[in-house]
Amino acid sequence: MPMIEVNGRQVTAREGGTLLDALRRAGIQVPTLCHYEGLPPTGSCRLCVVEVEGAPNLVPSCSFPVSEGMRVQTHSPRAVRARKTIVELLLSNHPDDCLYCAQHGNCRLQDLSEDLGVRQRRLPGSRTRLPRDISSPAIVRDPDKCILCGRCIRACAEVQTVAAIDFTGRGSGTRVDTAFGEGLNISSCINCGQCVMVCPTGALTERSHLDQVESALQDPDLVPVVQVAPAISVSLAELFGEKPGRDVEGALNALLRRLGFARVFDTSFSADLTVMEEASELVARLQGAGPLPLMTSCSPGWIKFVETFYPDLIPNLSTCKSPQQMLGAIIKSRFAGIQGIDPARIYSVSIMPCTAKKFEAGRSEMLRGGLVDVDAVLTTRELAELVRRRGLKLGDQAPEPADMPFGRRSGAGKIFGASGGVTEAAIRTAHFLVTGRELEDLTVEPVRGPEGIKRARVQVGELELGVAVVSGLGNARRLLDEIREGRRDIHFVEVMTCPGGCINGGGQPIGTRPGAITARMRALYRIDKGETVRTAHANPAVRSLYADFLGEPLSGLSHELLHTHYEARTPLR
């Protein structure tokens, strides 16, 4: 373990580590922009520069290896001046419209200017004016706010292996763009929003549905109904300053009623419904009714990824709609029927941790009789904004239950929010369907946890079921390549587009504290553990929906409402 001296203090570093790593572990703050935790350094922004004794120039700490006895000054006048100049240069070509920016108050560039004491526009450069890319149903790009840190490119190419965007041009003409500058919508972008999560400015944001939701809430002719995804209740509180991992489900229900929703339903209910359909589909395929492995279909970014990069594996995808679309369809069919409301008058909103859900809701396959089942999708971030616009506070709300019957869920539906949750829920129910008995221990430990690839073998009756659980599409690609090359021992594959699952979705709070994702994950499993009903097939609301309406899983009506199909896509990729 090399010892180094930082600002006169002894610090233990890691062998072979970078200087930045040593500084961070010692709690010494050095700002960074292009640095991407977990990926090799590019050293392009120079914001992390520090002074190292004996080195003629300032060195970028993010890519500089530590060595024994090194003496470092992180905040020498020279280092601080250099950082300030870098930020001033970035600002010289910035639109300065912070007041109107979606990231106002949660912007790295604002923080840096503040921390470095930038109080005037010292370098008046000529400002570029470029059109925003509003072609995508999920993501808006504003190149004027881009500071070319490259983090979005790395999220897209290295984490997701989609590579819809890259640097184009050179010098002062450098931009981030899609191939031929054609716009995200016709690029290979799969709408995951992971680029939005890592952008230090307001250059990347979700396509907002807030205005249309607000006006629908004011419209006396509409019946606004909302559904809330499993991951929201364990993430939202962070946007109101609370520490990660707090579950605010009851307060959230109350808030949604205060906002004017006539009904508050729970997407975890339709997650249970998904489990019923998908576990039945798995059992049928194990008996020869379709290709194996069966691959999950709840994550719309992943679906578009398969359609674009692995169209030969489309037959392996489950035909189940995602929980969002299942509940959307049930709301505009069953709920409308019971209430005697014309489905066209129902305004169905979903609160999702996801940007790709915005794309999914508008897919042509999701239309029934020319109508969409989900009219608008708000991300966790947009919900928090809506709450603030109305002057409401999360902390003020006394907990309230969701509305029946589609507010009733099992623990299985709730853990859909974490990578591995769908698999665990499906195993619980598949075991019951095959053997007629419950699993002795409902916890399927090997599929839990933050790892990007998890594998397990589970005994279900006679069969040893092989399952693989991946999150992050780079990991999915690795697994799919194995399957393409002929791996035959896997029967069930769960893929979540975002690393860790929906708790780290592209619609979640930006700039979260380290450890937030695991805290959210633990909260979901805690809720499941405390639940009396922990399997989808035991959910009474699911049972009566089948008894009174759908018949049984994979029935004709189930197929009509709850299943879908996919198409190969051929964007320039």
Binding site: F167, G169, R170, A179, S188, L572
Partner: protein, 156 residues
């Protein structure tokens, strides 16, 4: 003699990513520009995403992404031409054709390219149309030259 992109790729079996730029040059040589289809084929051959290929290609001035027009206009912005006022000539061309460097007019008649030297500095400022050099042009005369080509193109 017209080589297609598959011909070019077939001549470089097992080419690695470092072959991207020479391959782009060959494609442009054969087709006059870098098309979407060419990028797709290069991407499959080299296992590179389209965004990366486009990104690399736009780094260099030499690549264009629209087919050449019937009349390919090259305007010299080299030192001698600059001193003799080629900036105004360039501006007049862009105004007249309503296209930028590297672009092709919608009717397919004209394409525009900035070059660094045409090797006839004595005649600066110079413009070449399909290789035919027009010397000592002015912002006014170049508009007249372009008008002549447009008339010729309309008749043909």
């Amino acid at each position: 003699m017209n080589r297609t992109v598959p011909d070019i790729l077939a001549a470089h079996p097992g080419a690695g990513r470092d072959a991207l730029i020479p391959l782009l040059q060959e494609v442009q040589e054969a087709e006059g520009y870098i098309s979407r289809a060419a990028v797709a084929e290069l991407g499959t051959h080299l296992d590179l995403p389209a965004s990366r290929i486009y990104g690399v290609a736009t780094f260099y001035n030499q690549f264009r992404f629209q087919p050449l027009g019937r009349y390919h206009v090259q305007v010299c912005r080299g030192t001698a031409c600059h001193v003799k006022g080629s900036l105004g000539v360039f501006a007049a061309i862009k105004r007249t054709l309503k296209i930028e460097d590297g672009e092709t007019s919608r009717d397919g008649l004209f394409s525009l390219e900035v070059v660094s030297c045409l090797g006839a500095c004595g005649l600066a400022p110079l413009v070449a149309v399909n290789g035919q050099v027009h010397g000592e042009v002015t912002p006014e005369s170049v508009v007249e030259i372009l008008r002549r080509y447009r008339r010729e193109g309309a008749v043909a």
